[in-house]
């Protein structure tokens, strides 16, 4: 309209931020549905109603007073994750692997004293990690033990799978692999790797690390492409059903694969980022437009949508 985009950018059918906001988020994501995805506790409850598995919720702290006697109430749960319910971008999350007399042991071996831990909970409650700075809740949930499939290509942390779902149809997927630079967090702008996943097969493609294409993990040196994601069809089905669950037309569904429990829904993002296009070396627009052209019967059941996507997005 105002600027003529370069030919190659349009040719690749890359989805830009403005179009994502105006044509997809604003059109298909009603504001009234946002609270269910912005609050992880609400997401958990909703997922339970729709038979979508999530890491089990151990404990919820809503008031500053609740922190007294926390240790006792956690009982023999010595392994858990603390999260702000309304946090964004992975901030405020602490992974605890053990409780010892000297304090809480973090996954990377650091010890957090009881006082520091309480301080962190206070921070969470006063809302410094929350999206709008509102008062928040701290949730304690089961620590995920990642499936070993990605252990050769991740540095600590828990790799997670992001699937963009448009009107219930899985459009594009990637797996985010933590690196040393990302401090074990599966967060792309902190330096995690994003590897594209082929929708039809569930095999990883090339990867992107800080907007550079890579073929091998920078810390472990192992190749990142060609890895078969386990339980891929279950993952796709969970992602597709997130549409019925949230009523949101354009979402990013984040799933982790637990060694024991299989795929678990971690969270749903109503404003999924655009980096997935870099990980897949493919623009989103073409696929989104194909979905808009699909016959209505495709959208009836989650299973139909996955089948259609599997054929179309080879």
């Amino acid at each position: 309209m105002i600027l003529k985009a370069p030919y190659w950018l349009r040719q690749a059918e890359v989805l830009g931020m403005n179009r994502r906001n105006a044509e997809y988020i604003m059109r298909y994501n009603p504001r009234s549905a946002f609270p269910f995805v912005d609050d992880k506790v609400l997401t958990k409850h909703l997922a339970a109603q729709h038979q979508i598995p999530t890491p089990s919720l151990y404990h919820l702290i809503e008031n500053h007073g609740d922190i007294v006697g926390l240790k006792e109430r956690l009982g023999d749960q010595h392994e858990f994750v603390v999260k702000p319910a309304r946090g964004a971008g992975g901030s405020g999350i602490i992974l605890i692997t053990d409780i010892k007399p000297e304090g809480f042991i973090k996954q990377n071996g650091e010890i957090i004293s009881q006082a520091d831990f309480s301080y962190h909970i206070f921070d969470v409650l006063s809302g410094i990690y929350s999206l709008e700075g509102l008062e928040d809740r701290a949730l304690f949930e089961a620590l995920v033990h990642p499936d070993p499939v990605f252990s050769d290509v991740s540095y600590e942390g828990v790799p997670d799978i992001r699937i963009v779902v448009y009107r219930g149809v899985p459009v594009m997927g990637m797996v985010r692999l933590p690196t040393k630079a990302s401090d074990g967090k599966a967060n792309l702008h902190r330096g995690a790797i994003g590897a594209g996943i082929e929708i039809s097969t569930g095999r990883t493609l090339t990867a992107v690390h800080r907007s550079e294409v890579i073929t091998h993990h920078p810390d472990t040196g192992n190749p990142v492409s060609g890895i078969q994601v386990p339980s891929w069809s279950t993952i796709l089905l969970m992602a597709a059903r997130a549409y019925e669950m949230t009523k949101l037309g354009y979402i990013g569904v984040d799933i982790v694969i637990d060694k024991e429990h299989g795929p678990l829904l971690l969270e749903i993002n109503a404003r999924p980022g655009l980096a997935i296009q870099l990980a897949n070396r493919m623009g989103l627009r073409k696929r989104l437009e194909e979905i808009d052209k699909a016959p209505t019967e495709v959208f009836a059941m989650p299973e139909d949508r996955i089948e259609w996507a599997g054929q179309k997005f080879a």
Binding site: M1, I2, L3, A5, P6, W8, L9, Q11, A12, V14, G16, M17, N18, R19, A22, E23, G89, S91, A115, D116, Y119, F122, D123, S126, G127, I128, G133, H189, R190, V208, S211, V213, L274, Q277, L278, R281, G283
Partner: protein, 510 residues
């Protein structure tokens, strides 16, 4: 583009278009409010001496708004005398009266005179007056012999023929020698001006005497006299001494018309009087602001010029803030600039008006750095969110105080104005800067800070364009047009410039 959007945008553009057209055509608004206009600054100063406790009276002819000239911003100095403005026929007379103190009184008059070549105000058609007083049949007959032969000419030609006699050009056939001698004697007896008035009356040209000033820069203490002659469509001026004719109002500034002096004093003595004229270039809006304040038209009654001056200043800036917001929209949605918060740069730009851009940016950068260092070291103290923000706020206020004191010590007004910076915005910016730096790295924090500073500077630049300020002030309906642009921007779904860089990898792969 969606139909409702097109409709809304058209409406938002149509509304100001209609209003502005109406204002320009029917209310005579200036299409370019800041276009320069010729103006004169006139001032009259006089010194009056009188015996103590004696009532004195000074009457001075003053310029007033008439065809071709508008008088604005009049100011009077009257010392301990009373001042009244009188109307005497066509004249506006300033009357100073009262008793003069032991020392002389100084009286004064100042105003700005705007000359416009606009359509003349309709004046009643002047009628041919009586013959000058004291002139007998003998003089009238003489005049008839002198100018009778020109009665067939057009008024303008008649005027020029008579004016030429001032330089002894009488045309063919020349008058008899004794008539010319009688004419010289007549001028001696009644004065040259009155003699010419007789000729104009005889030639059936309406004429009047005027006293006033040359419109040239300088100081004068004696007004000059000329005759204004109606030539059917306009008054033309003739200097009786040389017979020179001037048209329009660009050369002479009349103070008084008729057989009265521009300055009259009773019971006192003017020991000194002088008029000073200075040429000025004024923006048209000043003239219009004056006119609007006097007009009874609906749109003039609801003009921003009706606000008290101290509020006008605020609105001149406020009306441009939406442009700043529009620009932020452009920079963020089309270019892809990162900024702290949405409107933070606009608020910064507004605050920089008091400190100046360079000082503002410097102070801003300094505060963010100090705040960041403090915030980092406070991380260990484990303070809760609100008390922690309060500590930063206190630090910001403390820095304000120190800076203001330094400013006052060294006489730097810019530093003292620091108190007008939005401290809440500064506090939040420090926190945001810290969070971005922690979460996305120092590079991202720096990038965002630079983006914010750049946007603030650009907004500052826009807020300072006087032409824009005045245009929006005269035509506040332009806000609708800004809104139209904002709506259009809101429908921009194309790529951002930053995305061309972000997705540059697709260049090679396609």
């Amino acid at each position: 583009m969606k139909r409702p959007v097109v409709l809304l945008v058209s409406l938002l553009l149509f509304l100001p278009l209609v209003l502005i057209t109406y204002r320009i055509i029917f209310l005579g608004y200036p299409p370019f409010p800041t276009a320069p206009q010729r103006a004169w600054q006139i001032s009259m100063d006089a010194r009056i001496e009188a015996e103590e406790n004696k009532e004195i009276m000074v009457k001075v002819g003053l310029p007033y708004s008439r065809a071709g000239q508008v008088v604005i911003e009049e100011r009077i100095t009257s010392g301990r005398l009373d001042f009244h403005l009188l109307s005497e026929g066509p004249n506006h007379i300033g009357l100073w009266s009262g008793t003069v103190g032991p020392r002389a009184e100084i009286i004064g008059y100042r105003s700005t005179i705007l000359l416009s070549s606009q359509r003349p105000i309709k004046t009643p058609l002047p009628k041919l007056g009586a013959f000058p007083a004291k002139m007998s049949k003998v003089e009238q007959d003489l005049a008839k012999r002198l100018v009778g032969k020109w009665i067939q000419l057009s008024p303008s030609e008649r005027l020029r023929a008579i004016a030429a006699t001032a330089t002894n050009i009488w045309g063919e056939p020349p008058p008899a020698d004794q008539d010319l001698r009688a004419w010289s004697a007549l001028q001696e007896k009644f004065g040259r001006t009155n003699a010419f008035l007789l000729l104009f009356r005889t030639a059936e040209l309406p004429a009047q005497v005027a006293e006033g000033l040359w419109l040239t820069e300088g100081v004068t203490s004696i007004p000059i006299t000329w005759i204004e002659i109606w030539t059917g469509k306009e008054w033309e001026c003739m200097l009786p001494s040389v017979g020179k004719i001037y048209k329009g109002s660009t050369n002479l500034l009349p103070l008084i018309f008729g057989e009265v002096d521009a300055v009259r004093v009773s019971e006192g003595k003017l020991s000194e009087i002088r008029w000073t004229l200075n040429r000025q270039i004024l923006s048209q809006w000043r003239y219009h602001s004056e006119r609007i304040r006097r007009s009874g038209r609906l749109l003039d009654l609801w003009s921003l010029f009706r606000l008290p001056p101290e509020f006008q200043e605020t609105f001149r800036i406020l009306l441009l803030v939406p442009i700043g917001a529009l620009m932020i929209g452009v920079l963020r949605n089309i270019i892809g600039f990162p900024t702290f918060g949405t409107f933070m740069p606009v608020l910064m730009a507004l605050a920089f008006r008091n400190t100046g851009l360079l000082y503002g940016l410097g102070i801003f950068a300094g505060f963010v750095l100090i705040g960041y260092t403090a915030r980092r070291s406070m991380e260990r103290l484990r303070l809760l969110l609100i008390p922690r923000l309060s500590v930063i706020l206190t630090l910001v206020i403390f820095c304000f105080t120190v800076l203001a004191l330094i400013g006052s010590r060294f006489g730097r007004w810019e530093l003292m104005a620091v108190g007008l910076l939005p401290f809440v915005i500064l506090t939040m910016t420090i926190e945001r800067f810290f969070v971005i730096t922690e979460e996305a790295g120092a590079r991202e924090g720096f990038r965002t800070a630079m983006g914010s500073a750049l946007v603030a500077s650009m907004t500052y630049g826009i807020l300072h364009v006087e032409t824009l300020q005045l245009t929006f002030f005269v035509y506040p309906e332009l806000l609708f047009a800004v809104a139209a642009a904002q709506v259009l921007l809101g429908r921009y779904t194309g790529y951002r410039l930053s995305e061309v860089f972000r997705f540059r990898r697709f260049r090679s792969s396609s």
